[in-house]
């Protein structure tokens, strides 16, 4: 659905996008992540025909952004990162405004707006002034607006920013619902845990260069320090039992343990296992055998954050 090849964009001497090649298939939810100033917004603006690339081509729904802007505009919905709203309209008028801009017949508008508001949970605010909505509600209104003309491709730039935890979860389920309806989504966000849960594929970009594009599981695999590393488990021990360092010595003899680090002051023990399927109970048994009293036992989950931190250098552009 979305294809770019060697997309390049300069702003003066600054290279905002550097030969970005990307491909997103139909029905995918593509999570687009990268540090501030990486070029996410620039990419989306090029895809929605708002900015002209200096070099390279971008195709959306099979149309070239340079020549078939009008066809693309009909099949995409773009939600900018900073949503400007008209201060003198109500929610209903705002949506009507865009429905009319997309050429939807007057008769059909009321029904569509009703449905879209229902989907974004804004029905209560239908006749409130857009200006008076809270930031999160405006964000939802932005999503509602994008849906008015039932586009095939959605380009959402940080849709979850400014939402409360509950609304964030709702937004996520809304996006998942949209993906289920067969739409292609490109979502940029800084909240990685969220993207990790709903994306089918992710792209990591830094300084205009695409560092990684592929499935989420692959990205997780890259988060590990080395090929031999498996799960990591953090154990906290009570003060009454054996110290972490004594247990550490006992553990390191086991072939399933790659490395163990003890911290006697905080009474924690971090155990890295080797790769492969291991039952964790062997650890428990060993610690108890060494007179250790376990306060908590926590396998560390690999997160998208780790992949992100590992792949990006954190340099600002």
């Amino acid at each position: 659905m979305i294809e770019t090849s060697n997309l390049t964009k300069h702003f003066g001497s600054l290279v905002a996008l550097d030969s970005l090649t990307l491909s997103i298939g139909p029905g995918e939810v593509f999570g687009f992540i990268g540090p501030n100033g990486a070029g996410k917004t620039t990419t989306m603006r090029i895809l929605s025909c708002l900015t002209r690339p200096d070099a390279g081509t971008a195709k959306v729904c099979g149309f070239d952004t340079r020549t078939h802007g009008d066809d693309i505009r009909k099949c995409i919905g773009y939600m900018p990162d900073f949503l400007g709203v008209y201060d003198d309209l109500t929610v209903d008028e705002y949506l009507q405004f865009f429905a009319s801009a997309y050429g939807i017949a007057r008769r059909a508008r009321a029904t569509i707006i009703g449905q879209v508001l229902e989907l974004t949970d804004l029905t209560q605010k239908r006749h409130s002034l857009v200006d008076g909505l809270s930031r999160g509600m405006q964000q939802r209104l932005g999503v509602a607006r994008v849906l008015v003309h039932d586009p095939k491709v959605l380009l959402l730039d940080e849709p979850a920013s400014g939402l409360d935890p509950r609304a964030r979860i709702e937004m996520r389920s809304l996006l998942i619902e949209l993906a289920r309806m067969g739409k292609t989504l490109m979502v940029s966000s800084h909240i990685l845990s969220e993207l990790g849960e709903m994306s089918t594929s992710i792209g990591i970009i830094e300084r205009g260069k695409l560092l990684y594009a592929g499935s989420v599981t692959d990205a997780f695999a890259r988060a590990k320090t080395s090929a031999t590393q498996g799960d990591r488990i953090v154990v906290k021990l009570a003060t009454s039992g054996a110290t972490p360092s004594t247990i550490k010595q006992a553990l390191e003899t086991d072939h399933r343990v790659l490395k163990a680090t003890a911290n006697d002051e905080q009474r924690t023990l971090t155990v890295d296992l080797t790769t492969g399927e291991h039952e964790h109970h062997f650890l428990l048994e060993r610690i108890i055998a060494c007179q250790g009293r376990i306060e908590s036992f926590q396998p560390e989950v690999v997160k998208l954050e780790d992949a992100f931190l590992r792949l990006t250098t954190g340099a600002l552009q």
């Binding site: 603006r45 929605s48 025909c49 708002l50 900015t51 002209r52 070239d64 952004t65 340079r66 020549t67 078939h68 802007g69 009008d70 693309i72 505009r73 009909k74 995409i76 919905g77 773009y78 900018p80 900073f82 949503l83 400007g84 709203v85 008209y86 201060d87 003198d88 309209l89 109500t90 929610v91 209903d92 008028e93 009507q96 405004f97 865009f98 429905a99 009319s100 801009a101 997309y102 050429g103 007057r106 008769r107 508008r109 009321a110 029904t111 707006i113 009703g114 229902e118 029905t123 209560q124 239908r126 006749h127 409130s128 002034l129 200006d131 008076g132 607006r145």
Partner: protein
């Protein structure tokens, strides 16, 4: 020796006490009335810095300097011509020649300054507050300890520096006129100070209008209007009152009228330089005019402070732009909404049921929730009311433009129109509708309309860009043409009342005088009754001045008639010109990033084309100005009314500057002009749509 020790001891004493808690990294200061605080401190610094950094500022300075130099060069060349200056004169002769040109040069420069600086003041201040309100940064300022008056002062002084820089451009010339040309010092200082005081007043007024308006363009238009009224109204009022015999103003020196209007005082002072004759009042009276301008500035400073405070509170409570044009529903209606919010389960199905069944294009609302709001909206025609949604038309951009209102209160427009009507009727009555009045009023209205037209569209696209709504608009399939025409027609709709008013005035006073004179009969009766009832009136033989007597026997009352063809031609020229100005404004708005520079450029452009160029041409060459005059809308409009008064427009001769032309030739010129103006307008729209569609394959 003792001086530096004092601060050291205080820190030493304070140190042990504060050692325990981490110190704030901002040195704490008590409020001292320091100079920088009084001057607005950070706001001032930011204003100066930002203004200085912008590219548009340098452009404005450049254009201003360019205009000044151009005019100077022309004046000097022309003056040296007429004083037969030649290259091989001795030093003494050259100096003499220079002394002869010096007054002319001085008058030209000072006149230019007085024309431009107050205008620049209006333009510079127009964006001062409203842009911040829309960007939401005013609310941020509210959270700092800055006072509203400090903000106003900072903005005022920040923009003053810009005015100062512009006015300094002329300083070398004036100094030379003083040193080499021997122009009297006071006659240089007086106009300069008058000019500065009025520019300051203009700036302060525009900051005030900016705090009340929504967009910079509206603020600028408002400021120009207020300034104009302040310049004209007092002397007109006093003039009228002086003509009424029973008033104590009767014995007043007529020079007083002049004194009340700064431009008049200025002209008189210019007259000093050229020694045009004895001034009508004593030399130092200009000081009075300056003082009154400064007093007005002070008044508007206080008003601005209040307005800014109100705007700050409004933005802080309701977000940017809130609480300005929109009307929140009164409490009883809000309660109705909140009740339905409390019971979401009950309300949602009702909405669901109502929406699909909404008949045709009537408002798609649930009845129980919005009936009240609808009724309220009907009562206050088309006001934005929370709780009720209007139906959007098929060109959404046009729809929104048309819904936008020119003035804030719903009564402002009717009241303004009412006042205008009364003033017109009064004028008709006073002057018995002679020709000069009809043309004068129409031309006055036309010039105001052209001025407003230059301010309408430059913000149209750029304000959407500034409000971050343009991106969203450009991702819809709306064609660039639909957007531009929507904006253009919306602007046209906003100015329509004035256009219609001008048309009505011409129709009423020119075509229908046979009927309209009866309207004044009741007034006649009133006067008669007063005479009868009040001995004071009856005994005053002065009371029936000639104009009242003139119309008393209405049979002898003979107003001028304007041929309808001439009126139509007048309106056509006006419409084409306004269209061209709209289109060029839109182009500037699309090309330039920000509203304020686009507005300034559009205004300067049209002042250059309509006012500056003719003056220059007139100085340079008589033949050129005749040709230009034939293509100048204001001249064309005046000519067509003049020729069509008491004549059939199509067979009259037209008094084009310097020679009379037959109707045919004249109308050929007129039609040519209309075609040219429309063509320029369409071209500008085309370029603007190319610019808007530049990013990606947009249909133009």
């Amino acid at each position: 020796m003792t001086q530096p020790r004092t601060p050291t001891t205080t820190t030493a004493a304070a140190a042990p006490a504060e050692a325990a808690k981490p110190k704030s990294w901002v040195p704490r200061r008590s409020w001292r009335p320091s100079l920088s605080r009084v001057l607005g401190g950070p706001v001032f610094a930011k204003e100066v810095w930002v203004l200085g950094k912008r590219l548009s500022t340098s452009w404005v300075r450049f254009i201003y300097g360019f205009l000044l130099l151009g005019m100077l060069a022309i004046v000097v060349v022309n003056a040296t011509d007429s004083y037969s200056y030649s290259g091989n004169m001795g030093n003494l002769q050259a100096l003499q020649a220079y002394q002869q040109i010096a007054p002319v040069v001085t008058i030209a420069v000072l006149g230019f300054q007085f024309g431009m600086l107050p205008l620049m003041g209006c333009v510079l201040g127009g964006s001062a507050v409203c842009e911040e309100v829309r960007a939401g940064s005013l609310a941020t300022l509210l959270s700092t300890p800055l006072k509203a008056w400090q903000i106003v002062m900072g903005k005022l002084l920040g923009r003053c520096t810009e005015l100062l820089i512009l006015s300094l451009l002329a300083l070398p010339v004036l100094l030379m006129a003083r040193v080499l040309g021997g122009v009297n010092g006071e006659s240089l200082i007086a106009p300069t100070v008058l000019c500065a005081a009025n520019a300051l007043l203009a700036l302060q007024i525009s900051i005030w209008t900016s705090a009340r308006a929504k967009h910079a363009a509206g603020a600028i238009a408002g400021a120009i209007g207020v300034l104009f009224v302040l310049w004209v109204l007092p002397s007109v009022l006093v003039g009228v009152l002086m003509s009424v015999p029973t008033m104590p103003f009767k014995g007043l020196n007529p020079a007083f009228i002049t004194l009340l209007s700064p431009p008049m005082v200025f002209l008189v002072k210019l007259g000093d330089i050229a020694s045009w004759g004895a001034p009508p009042f004593q030399t130092l009276h200009w000081v009075w005019s300056v003082v009154s301008s400064l007093a007005l500035t002070g008044l508007f400073f206080v008003l601005s402070t209040r307005a800014v405070r109100r705007a700050m509170v409004a933005t802080a409570l309701l977000g940017p732009g809130a609480g300005r044009t929109t009307k929140k529903a009164p409490p009883d209606k809000r309660r109705a909404v909140s009740i339905s919010q409390d019971v979401p389960m009950a309300a949602t199905p009702a909405l669901d049921g109502a929406s699909p069944a909404a008949p045709l294009d009537s408002s798609p609302d649930s009845p129980q929730e919005t009936n009240e709001a609808a009724r309220q909206r009907k009562r206050k025609k088309s006001a934005v009311v929370e709780g009720y949604s209007r139906t959007v038309g098929d060109n959404p951009v046009l729809w929104r433009e048309v819904q936008q209102r020119f003035t804030r209160g719903q009564w402002a427009l009717p009241v303004a129109l009412g006042i205008c009507c009364c003033a017109l009727l009064f004028l008709y009555w006073m002057s018995s509708m002679k020709e000069g009045l009809q043309i004068g009023v129409a031309m006055f209205g036309a010039v105001i309309l052209l001025l407003l037209a230059a301010l309408q569209t430059p913000g149209a696209i750029s304000s959407e860009r500034e409000g971050r709504t343009l991106d969203v608009l450009l991702t819809t399939p709306l064609s660039a043409r639909a957007i531009l025409w929507g904006k253009l027609l919306g602007s046209a709709k906003r100015l329509a009342p004035l256009y219609v008013a001008i048309a009505l005035h011409l129709f009423f006073s020119g075509v229908l005088p046979g009927i309209t004179r009866y309207i004044f009969l009741p007034l006649d009766e009133v006067v008669r009754f007063l005479r009868f009832a009040s001995p004071a009136f009856a005994n005053n033989s002065d009371f029936i001045p000639e104009h009242i007597d003139g119309y008393r026997s209405y049979l002898g009352w003979d107003p001028a008639r304007v041929d309808p063809v001439a009126i139509l031609a007048f309106l056509l020229v006006l419409a084409c010109t306004v269209f061209m100005q709209f289109a060029v404004g839109l182009l500037l708005s699309a090309v330039m990033r920000r509203t304020t520079p686009a507005t300034i450029c559009n205004l300067l452009l049209w002042i250059l084309v309509w006012a500056f160029l003719p003056v220059v041409l007139a100085i340079v060459d008589n033949g050129l100005i005749d040709l230009y005059g034939a293509l100048h809308p204001v001249v064309l409009m005046a000519m067509v009314l003049d020729g069509g008064t008491d004549n059939a427009a199509l067979s009259a001769t037209y008094d084009v500057p310097d020679n009379n032309v037959q109707a045919f030739t004249f109308f050929v010129f007129l039609v040519l002009y209309c075609f040219a103006a429309t063509g320029v307008g369409l071209g500008a729209l085309k370029v603007a749509s190319l610019e808007l569609g530049f990013a990606g394959g947009r249909k133009r």
